[in-house]
């Protein structure tokens, strides 16, 4: 047991430290912990922001699993995840390999590829809505290109089928630079001696990639899989460009993240939106745990 005198002395000695972390602690409590707990609290209520705050217990959670829109939304979200995660992972990795070569002026390319990441997403949305515009009289850039090649125009994210989601995956390739930076940092951490030894042994470039670069990148691959997975499940970027308030035609781009936004800020079913968010947290937690349980392929040592 710590005596009072010792406790006082310890507190006195650590007062500077406490003062330094106090602003951050207050910030985390106010803007992270409080909203988290508050959303859990609100998820138990029928809350419309203005006139209703009625306790419904687990009613909102039951509604998540009985909502008639859910099959379509979950289907869209899973399809988007299945296509987007590998596309982003492989795309950014290949781009990082290209940008890792020692060439004159390579830094310029690195900056160029990272530029889209510093642009506000709304600007990106507007630019891409122009590029993919489907309008017979004034087609967008891609459709002008398709027409020049004598190919039929595509509706892109104005389509009612899977084309809309695939167009968004294509659009996401624009932001590959963000993941690339992380890969490049990882490549710099691979000891050069390994490559030198491989060269002495006469290893080819392909062999060096599969035996050194790829295995040594696995911790970062694992990290990127988890973060891309979470970002993909939360995706609601279609708000800025897709028709029908982001839902797309025939709900073709209606994903889970958008459903949360739609219920919270269009329909003001704030309690239901909070329950949707918590279900997503639980699902992401379970799937992330599965990923952690199957991470034997990750090489954490040299």
């Amino acid at each position: 047991m710590m005596t009072n005198a010792k406790l006082k002395k310890k507190l006195k000695n650590s007062v500077d430290g406490w003062l330094f972390v106090l602003p951050m602690t207050i910030g985390i409590c106010m803007f992270t912990m409080l909203p988290i707990v508050q959303s859990l609290y609100y998820s138990l209520f029928d809350y419309d922001v203005t006139s209703k705050f009625d306790f419904v217990g687990l009613g909102n959670y039951i509604k998540v699993f009985t909502d008639s829109q859910m099959p379509k939304i979950v289907g869209n979200t899973l399809l988007f995840a299945v296509v987007n995660i590998p596309a982003v992972m492989v795309g950014s990795y290949l781009l990082a390999l290209l940008l890792n070569v020692q060439l004159k002026g390579i830094k310029v390319f690195r900056v160029l590829y990272y530029l889209p990441c510093v642009l506000p997403s709304i600007v990106g949305g507007i630019v891409w809505s122009y590029i993919m515009r489907y309008n017979v009289e004034t087609p967008g850039l891609f459709n002008q290109f398709l027409s020049k090649l004598g190919l039929p125009m595509s509706q892109f994210f104005y389509a009612e089928d899977v084309t809309a989601l695939l167009s968004i995956v294509l659009m996401n390739m624009w932001g590959l630079g963000g993941g690339t930076i992380i890969w490049l940092a990882q490549f710099k951490n691979i000891p050069k001696q390994l490559y030198e030894v491989a060269e002495i042994d006469g290893a080819s470039a392909v062999r060096k990639f599969f035996s050194i670069t790829l295995p040594m990148s696995t911790p970062m691959i694992f990290y990127n899989i988890i973060t891309t997975f979470i970002v993909t499940l939360q995706f609601n970027g279609t708000l800025t460009f897709a028709p029908n308030g982001g839902l797309g035609n025939n709900n073709a781009t209606y994903t889970y993240g958008l459903k949360i936004y739609h219920e919270a800020f269009r329909r003001y079913n704030m309690g239901y939106a909070c329950a949707l968010a918590w279900v997503l947290v639980i699902v992401m937690g379970i799937l992330t745990s599965v990923l952690f349980m199957t991470n034997k392929w990750v090489q954490y040592d040299d």
């Binding site: 409080l34 508050q38 203005t50 009289e137 308030g245 025939n250």
Partner: protein
């Protein structure tokens, strides 16, 4: 020690959430309350009005034009503005933000589309006690001096909630230069009267369409023009068209009723227009009425506002909305203010005095002088054409005739207000799909039905 601090922080957060963060909720206001029509003239008070901040300060200027006159009555009263984004999508967000942050204005700006939200969400009080007091005192003659129908439009459960500051009515603007070029004598053509019909409009559109597609029309530079810019996705247009055809969005019991034979007939009519190349889907092609490229256009703007467009300035006139079938309808609506349910006592009485001043002859004249370009809700000022100075040579009766046919959009009142946006969205999508022409009419109807069912599934 660390554990104790952690537990204490968690306990504090939980306590704060459950007790301190209980959201601000508006209780349903009582419909019966004491009112006083004699507010002391020396009262010192501030009235806050929620107004749009995305209309180029138009509403602010209107209200500012009322302030000097109102201050003559109540010199110590300050008028303050709470300007927020107001659009189909943002209105509920703006109102909710005001309530959640406990910055509730005393008077809410609203229109035909949004007032139901205010009432259903307990934001505004019934004005019946004031109307009753005024009737007893003989100080407000709604029946004799006003277009009473516009006061009745905000009726919900037999009570009126909003005082209109002006009325909107959909009219048909036409481009005199384009009609003349197409050989139509718009001054004497028997089809162009205040009793004109949809068939008259279609016949004229056909004539214009034939002209702009002719070699002569193209040679004269009218090749990229259109006959009609109908704005079918605007509820003030599609609602009367649907009703005139007997098409309903929801049945009496609230079920989706869009898949009726009447809707099919209306949809086929619109698709026919599209297929004949007479309808401009929207303004994305660069050809619009306001840039002089369209012959006919449905709008509720006043002539003064229309004249601000240099390409059409001085080259337009108007007719009423054309009558369709045996039960014609004309889209109309109001812009007005409701008193907040959180404003009580003498301040609520003061807010009423402000509204009463707004609809008085003096107040309405000040609004007109402040730029209000749509008809006054006062019969005398509307009929004297005071509301559109400088444009008296135009057919201003277009805004006033057909009072019996006028309807406002209230189909969304069959369901919770949180469904309104999605309901409207489904119908707009339906009308756009009809004029796009990429899907069959039946598919458009089926999809609209499905969208409406989704919209009302809470």
């Amino acid at each position: 020690m660390k554990k104790r601090i952690f537990v204490a922080v968690i306990a504090l957060v939980l306590l704060f959430c459950t007790v301190g963060c209980k959201p601000n909720i508006l209780e349903k206001p009582s419909d019966e309350f004491d009112v006083s029509l004699s507010v002391p003239s020396d009262i010192t008070e501030t009235l806050t009005l929620m107004i749009p901040n995305n209309d180029g300060d138009v509403e602010r200027n209107y209200i500012m034009s009322l302030v000097p006159g109102f201050k003559e009555l109540y010199p110590n009263v300050t008028i303050k503005f709470d300007a927020r984004t107001i659009s189909d999508e943002k209105y509920s967000e703006s109102v909710s933000a005001a309530i959640a942050s406990k910055n509730v204005p005393d008077l809410f700006w609203t229109n035909t589309l949004f007032y139901y939200y205010l009432i259903a969400k307990n934001c505004v009080v019934s004005l019946e006690p004031y109307y009753a007091a005024e009737a007893t005192a003989g100080t407000l003659d709604l029946e004799g001096e006003y277009y009473e129908a516009f006061f009745d439009m905000s009726t919900y459960e037999d009570k009126r909630y909003i005082v209109p500051r002006s009325m909107d009515s959909v009219v048909t603007y036409y481009n005199t230069e384009l009609l003349t070029a197409a050989g139509i004598d718009y001054k004497n053509d028997p089809r162009m009267t205040n009793n004109w019909t949809w068939e008259n409009l279609m016949s004229l559109c056909q004539q214009v369409s034939d002209f702009i597609q002719s070699e002569e029309g193209k040679a004269l530079g009218y090749g990229n023009c259109y006959a009609l810019q109908p704005e079918f996705s605007w509820e003030a247009v599609f609602n009367p068209v649907m009703l005139a055809y007997g098409s309903e969005v929801f049945a009496e019991n609230g079920d989706v009723a869009i898949d009726s034979a009447e809707t099919l007939e209306m949809a086929n009519m619109i698709r026919g227009l599209k297929e004949n190349g007479r309808v401009l889907r929207d303004s994305t092609s660069g050809s619009t009425f306001t840039n002089g490229k369209v012959a006919f256009h449905f709008s509720s703007s006043g002539p003064a506002k229309m004249d601000l467009n240099s390409q059409i300035s001085g080259k337009f006139d108007a007719l009423p909305f054309p009558l369709i079938g045996e039960t014609p309808k004309i889209g109309c609506g109001f812009v007005g203010y409701g008193i907040s349910s959180t404003t009580q006592g003498v301040k609520r009485d003061l807010a009423w005095q402000f509204l009463k001043y707004m609809i008085s002859k003096k107040g309405q004249m000040e609004l007109i002088n402040g730029g209000l370009a749509t008809p006054s809700i006062r019969v005398d000022l509307a009929e004297e054409k005071e509301w559109s100075k400088g444009f008296q040579n135009l057919n201003l009766d277009a805004w006033l005739v057909g009072e019996n046919y006028k309807v406002c959009s209230n189909f969304y009142m069959k369901h919770d207000p949180s469904c309104s946006f999605d309901t409207l969205n489904a119908l707009q999508k339906f009308m756009n799909a009809l004029t796009d022409g990429t899907k069959s009419v039946q598919k458009c109807i089926d999809e609209c039905k499905s969208d409406l069912q989704e919209a009302i599934s809470k």
